[in-house]
């Protein structure tokens, strides 16, 4: 018995939380009219681990490892944001060599995050070769980071006042060799992906984000810069050793998925430039501030520290009441705002385009869910 439902033209399709293309445990409830999406509602919270509650029950040093788990792909930026916020409350200054080391490691981590994104994104779009190339480059990079920090993924390397270990000669020569190698690999990425007809057809003109939407939703990072707005904390609100380096902020012009992809590729090149300059200008000196107290009791007050992570602006908001434990820590994560634009951008697209758009926003779900 077939009834022609004339009023009810949409049906509900559930994407996730276990899905190869949702980059973690994200659930998107779609209402579809045939192949076209009329409504897309992300349901999050499947990765909620209670970081902010843990912050209130830990002292400052004990909370430091959590920062690596919030966004595990660019953990060093989160380490840096948190350490800088607490250093502001304590009034500590990190010595110059410590700042340079922080920048070098953080930029290497940014490259590794973008490599994972390229690989996983192209895997979502159906291409299997780029992920092998990207992860191979990433393994070379992780050998360098592993040597200094001891971890491959969830780093907990920065300390309040500086860094605990210095760079050695082998790291520096290894990094220079890596920079040379990655630059030659960019040619491969360009011919394999950027000039690929299928890729261009799937990404050009898809998922347009306007400036007005960017302001209203508070977008940051490459998602924002693809739409032509040159807002990067490293240039707009310089911190650490970034003022000493000369680098550009790549921006797109149309605001579609292809522009966001290109911004990330060009950002990797700019990160290599920063690392090169930092290695050339690396000053001698201590790597850790002297007189860092063992029991940290920051002054009462509040502080907001913003750093640029691979996904956008990470803001660490700490309210301290002068105790050993923070009173409140709020982690302002870029993926939260970036994902909230999905319901608006996904209307009237195909499901395949939804996958392309969702991937181009580069979300890390445990960061959104904290």
């Amino acid at each position: 018995m077939i009834e022609l439902g004339i009023e009810e033209k949409t049906y509900t399709l559930n994407l996730g939380p276990q899905h190869p293309s949702t980059h973690g445990v994200l659930r998107v409830v779609l209402e579809m009219d045939g192949e076209y999406i009329t409504k897309a509602e992300p349901v999050i919270g499947y990765g909620h681990r209670g970081h902010e509650h843990m912050a209130e029950n830990r002292n400052y040093q004990q909370f430091l490892p959590n920062m690596g788990r919030v966004d595990y792909l660019h953990a060093l930026a989160y380490n840096q944001g948190y350490c800088m916020a607490v250093e502001k409350l304590l009034g500590l200054t990190v010595p110059e060599r410590g700042e340079f080391i922080r920048v070098i490691l953080s930029e290497l981590n940014r490259i590794s995050s973008h490599l994972v994104w390229i690989g996983a994104y192209l895997l979502d779009l159906g291409a299997f070769t780029p992920i092998l190339y990207a992860f191979d480059d990433r393994e070379n990079l992780l050998d360098l980071l592993d040597r200094i920090t001891g971890s491959r993924l969830t780093y907990c390397f920065y300390r309040f006042g500086g860094v605990p270990r210095d760079l050695d000669e082998e790291f520096i020569t290894g990094t220079r060799a890596f920079i040379k190698r990655l630059r030659s690999r960019f040619r491969d990425y360009e011919s394999l992906v950027t000039k690929n007809v299928i890729f261009i057809n799937r990404t050009r003109g898809v998922g347009l984000i306007t400036r007005d939407q960017a302001v209203k939703y508070g977008l940051t990072g490459p998602t924002l810069r693809g739409s032509g707005i040159a807002y990067d904390i490293r240039k707009s609100e310089p911190y650490s050793a970034y003022p000493a380096f000369d680098f550009q902020i790549p921006i797109g012009d149309k605001g579609d998925v292809f522009d966001r992809y290109l911004v990330r590729i060009l950002e990797m090149e700019q990160s290599l430039r920063i690392i090169e300059q930092a290695l050339n200008q690396l000053p001698n000196g201590p790597i850790m501030a002297d007189k860092v107290p063992k029991r940290l009791k920051p002054a009462a007050g509040e502080v907001y520290q913003a750093v640029e992570s691979a996904r956008g602006e990470f803001g660490c908001y700490i309210v301290s009441q002068g105790d050993l434990k923070p009173y409140r820590i709020k982690l302002r994560v870029p993926s939260f705002g970036n994902l909230s634009i999905l319901p608006e951008v996904a209307v009237d697209t195909l499901v395949a385009d939804l996958v392309a758009i969702l991937g181009s926003v580069d979300v890390v779900i445990p960061e959104i869910d904290r």
Partner: protein, 154 residues
Amino acid sequence: MLKDKLKTALASLNLAQVSDGDYARTGYHLEVAAGPGQMPAVAQAMLDQGCFLESLTAVDLRESFTLVYHFASFDELCRTVVHASLTKETKEAKGAQAPTISLVYPGADWYEREVYDLFGIKFAGHPNLKRLLLPEDADFHPLLKDFGAEPGND
């Protein structure tokens, strides 16, 4: 200068405090204190000057809540923080309530849902005030100060 333009725009709203922040110590250029009911007007004034909503959160101060809004701008470095103090219970309504700013800033939609989820603060006029992070049938608000604190972890 964006800071002066913001000060002029906010001066007409009759707010409790609009003052310069100590950037080196706190990271704010402008510190504003407002009542929760004035927030939609403040948000509209910030949007008219081209600022985006950086973050929206709440702090449980045991006797009251403070809603904390951070605004920044893409074009010029100027971070504004707005503190809105909220009483926990009023004579009219049980449980804290504040008007929503999600009609001005659609991005605030999820932030306000998160604050509702973690603190129990309701936002009047919010189009879709459901829990965001915890399961839909959860019956507690974890970031309240009287929710299961750990004894002596030093």
